[in-house]
């Protein structure tokens, strides 16, 4: 490719939006890449993508130019990624889920206190995946949202009910010291019928 075509390729690649013809002209003028006109260079780039067999193409949009992946690949990529790679929960998400499973109903502050890191994004994503739900509001400042696991959580782990989870004292290490009694109000709002594995 001519130097100007290469420069335009780099510029179009790095740009978050289509580049207007005037801006492309300014880039070309500043670079001073000899005789090639902007039109010729754009045409060269487009032809190169088309005839040489590329996964991308140069398209004219709204008074400017842009490199786009060819439509036939976009979908293939998304589908391939989705199908071939079942999503896994991150370690952080699993830990959060574990805390909720064993201590529900439980508020964000308590989860964060146990894990030592913010839990906002993880709670959101677990909620979007339908693994947890808001089961009420706790006592105290701001009446915090309380989380619990959903039936879909049970399904995911092939559990009939929460009691099928091993009790904490059957796990390698005993659960930490008992916490203050759960607000009764919150327990009452639990709507998926499952009792927590242990009141602890």
């Amino acid at each position: 490719m001519t130097p100007l075509a290469k420069l335009l390729e780099a510029a179009l690649f790095a740009s978050a939006t289509p580049i207007a013809v005037d801006d492309l002209r300014a880039i070309a003028a500043h670079a001073d890449e000899g005789e090639t006109t902007l039109e010729a260079a754009l045409e060269e780039l487009r032809t190169h993508y088309d005839t040489d067999g590329h996964g991308v193409e140069l398209v004219e949009v709204a008074g400017g130019w842009q490199i786009l992946t060819r439509p036939e690949y976009t979908e293939a990529i998304e589908r391939a990624q989705l199908a071939a790679r079942p999503q896994r929960l991150s370690a952080a998400a699993l830990e959060t889920l574990a805390i909720i499973a064993y201590r529900q109903p439980v508020g964000r502050a308590e989860i964060e206190e146990i894990r030592g890191v913010g839990a906002g994004a993880i709670l959101k994503s677990l909620h979007e995946r339908g693994l947890i739900d808001i089961v009420g509001r706790g006592e105290g400042l701001g009446r915090p949202l309380m989380y619990g696991t959903t039936p879909s959580f049970l399904e995911q782990f092939a559990l009939r009910h929460l009691e099928e989870l091993p009790r904490a004292d059957e796990l390698a290490i005993a659960l930490r010291a008992p916490r203050p009694p759960t607000p009764a109000a919150v327990a009452a709002t639990k709507d998926n019928g499952e009792a927590p594995p242990r009141a602890d």
């Binding site: 896994r88 995946r129 559990l159 390698a172």
Partner: protein, 257 residues
């Protein structure tokens, strides 16, 4: 950094007279007390295994004296350390006993300096790499994603969840044990102590003003006080000869309280 060092390589007095914003900015070029120390050692072409502590301590003090005092705690801690090493360098020989097992008081400092120098070396590598990478741009345009379900099939297993439980249990924070309250330095108090001492004595030594078993904050407060008073011209810090403890003398031209 080179021009800083030439400007500042003089005595405490030189640095004082030129002190102000300029040097605060320049000192920001040091990423910490070890960086400053290493720079001094390099500038002076000193053998890192045989550091002339007295000289380096003096230069170190000279440079940090131009720092704004309340920003200097980490540097002052190092200064106090240097002075302590300097004092220790004098001790064991006098006792004359166990020359063979004499532990160089500088050893720990040397170890830290070498370790830190290694870090600097890695930083050079990282800087090169990052410079290389910064000059290249990744694709910025993000195409409209094909509408896909929020989550694909999820694979998680009970053992995974249980090992997460186990991790949580291991990681669970113990109940609140204590709060670390930063001990505020009492520079004003220390200034009072120094002034009081100099009111009755024309000269004093570091050990005269330092309480027995002084806590770090007391050492730092006194050091700050000395530097501050030296800056105000109320006293002078003098080292009569190499390796000697520095002397604090009342500056007759200044007005002691």
């Amino acid at each position: 950094m080179d021009d800083v060092s030439t400007q500042l390589s003089g005595s405490l007095a030189v640095a004082e007279s030129a002190a102000s914003e300029v040097f605060v900015v320049e000192l920001a070029e040091y990423s910490g007390p070890l960086d400053l120390l290493l720079t001094l050692i390099r500038d002076e072409q000193i053998d890192i295994y045989d550091i002339p502590i007295a000289r380096i301590a003096e230069q170190f003090l000279a440079r940090i004296s131009s720092l704004k005092l309340d920003e200097a705690a980490d540097y002052l801690e190092m200064a106090a350390r240097l002075l302590r090493i300097k004092a220790q360098m004098l001790l064991p020989r006098r006792e004359g006993e166990g020359e063979d097992v004499w532990e160089d008081p500088r050893a720990e400092l040397v170890r830290r300096l070498l370790e830190y120098q290694q870090v600097r070396e890695v930083v050079d590598v990282l800087e090169r790499r990052s410079e290389e990478r910064r000059g290249r741009f990744a694709r910025a345009y993000s195409q409209q994603a094909v509408e896909v379900p929020v989550a694909g099939p999820l694979t998680i297993s009970l053992p995974e969840l249980l090992s997460a439980v186990d991790r949580v249990l291991r990681l669970a924070r113990k109940p609140h044990i204590h709060d670390v309250v930063p001990r505020a330095l009492d520079v004003d108090g220390a200034i009072g102590i120094v002034r009081a001492l100099l009111a009755i004595r024309a000269r004093a030594q570091w050990k005269d003003i330092l309480p027995r078993k002084a806590e770090p904050w007391e050492v730092l407060s006194l050091l700050l006080a000395l530097l501050e008073l030296a800056k105000r011209g109320e006293l002078r810090l003098i080292q009569p000869r190499a390796f000697a403890a520095f002397e604090i003398t009342r500056d007759s031209s200044g007005q002691a309280a």
